[in-house]
């Protein structure tokens, strides 16, 4: 109930502030979460428990897939003003996705079940994949020292913490003998509410993405050559100094 209220409040702020389109994929994800909650509430009240279970797992799986949109949103906003970092991110993502696809193809040889014996496991595996993509993205942000807007910082922190918490709790649940126990819903509810509080604070208003102060004065080849030469001089200096002193 609290989480639904927070979700509605975040969406309301975006509609009121007219920045729904600025973070389109993110708000689509939130709308999907809210819709899933409403569908589940309807199924719980009106339909049988079997129908609820089916609806629950289908919606969980769909949300795990829509969640990739949040990673995409971070990528789009963080790399927008940085052509070089964007090129690098594209190369890293392509390599990562190719690796994952090749691995999945090899696993599919053993049958579909190898990707995840249960829906819970498949969902957890999808979240691990998202976490790997997010690791690549955050590494590039840290490496190129990209400035992030307030919205993006909160989006990244909230989603990252949610992924970490969710992966850990789902893994422990899968490993436990009582994976169907009702109390397993508690940690996921807590993670979810904490994430929504972070997003609520971060998306109170829309902040523009930081614009770099200056474009690159020289071309990339010149800069790369200068750095290579500088490294060469430094290496030569270290070796020569110890050899001839």
């Amino acid at each position: 109930m609290v989480s639904d209220l927070l979700l509605a409040a975040i969406l309301y702020r975006a509609v009121r502030g007219r920045f729904l389109k600025v973070y389109g994929c993110f708000y689509l994800y939130l709308a999907a979460v809210l819709s899933a909650d409403l569908i589940r509430a309807y199924l719980a009240a009106v339909r049988t428990s079997a129908a609820y279970a089916l609806g629950y797992w289908i919606s969980e799986l769909a949300l795990a897939v829509v969640g990739f949109g949040v990673t995409w949103e971070v990528y789009r906003h963080a790399m927008n003003a940085f052509d070089g970092a964007r090129r690098m991110a594209r190369a890293v993502f392509t390599a990562l996705l190719l690796t994952v696809i090749v691995r999945a193809v090899f696993q599919l040889k053993d049958g579909l079940g190898a990707l995840g014996r249960t829906t819970l496991e498949l969902e957890r595996n999808l979240q691990v994949l998202q976490a790997v993509l997010l690791i690549a993205l955050v590494s590039l942000i840290a490496h190129y020292q990209l400035a992030l807007s307030r919205n993006l910082r909160f989006l990244l922190s909230g989603y990252g913490l949610y992924l970490v918490g969710s992966i850990i709790s789902r893994t422990l649940r899968l490993e436990s003998d009582q994976s169907h126990a009702a109390w397993w819903a508690l940690p996921s509810q807590f993670e979810y509410c904490a994430t929504l509080v972070i997003w609520f604070a971060g998306f109170w208003s829309c902040t523009p993405d930081p614009v770099p102060e200056l474009d690159m004065e020289r071309d990339y080849e010149w800069v790369a050559n200068q750095t290579m030469k500088a490294f060469g001089r430094l290496r030569h200096h270290v070796v020569q100094s110890w050899r001839s002193s």
């Binding site: 955050v138 020289r218 990339y220 430094l234 100094s241 110890w242 002193s245």
Partner: protein, 180 residues
């Protein structure tokens, strides 16, 4: 999926998020100044002082063990400081490149990878030399480096000679085959 891998992914993501959040609070670096591209090397005189044998001889002639030990300790400290300054310069240069390259529309991921490997190799050499200085002191480390270098030269010369012997033979046999 492997449990260690899953928890590892979660831990790495958490660490990276923390690092990014911490870095975002620091002031963002502006565009690089052309003068920043100059390599600022640590003074060679500092290192020359570490290797001066005369000072060691003089301290030894005094016959005081604590004085000699103090001199050797200070030498080690100076040599380590010199190495640290060199590493700081390498880091500065790499950060400068990253600051410039992030805007480049023609950035080449392969060139970035090569540069990262170069930087990694430099750090590897740095850590090896630091280890040598820590364990053996600057004087012995220098002697060791010279020995390794002369050994490498001997190996390279031997390799060259073997190559000279083998290459003409293989060229000759290769030229014989088509005409068989």
């Amino acid at each position: 999926m492997n449990l260690v891998l899953i928890f590892g992914v979660a831990a790495v993501l958490l660490l990276l998020l923390w690092a990014v959040a911490r870095r975002q609070n620091e002031e963002a670096a502006g565009p690089p100044d052309p003068s920043e591209y100059l390599v600022r090397l640590p003074p060679p005189a500092l290192l020359a002082k570490c290797f001066a044998v005369e000072d060691v001889r003089f301290a030894a002639s005094l016959g005081s063990r604590p004085v000699l030990q103090l001199l050797l300790r200070e030498r080690k400290r100076l040599a380590l400081q010199w190495l640290r300054l060199t590493r700081a310069e390498a880091r500065r240069l790499y950060r400068l490149h990253v600051r410039s390259a992030r805007h480049a529309p023609d950035l080449q991921p392969s060139a970035e990878g090569r540069l990262l490997v170069h930087f990694g190799l430099f750090l590897l050499v740095y850590h090896m030399m630091t280890g040598l200085v820590l364990f053996y002191g600057p004087l012995r480390a220098q002697a060791l480096i010279r020995s390794i270098e002369s050994l490498a030269n001997v190996l390279s010369a031997l390799g060259g000679r073997i190559g000279e012997i083998v290459a003409p033979a293989s060229v000759a046999s290769a030229s014989v085959v088509p005409g068989r």
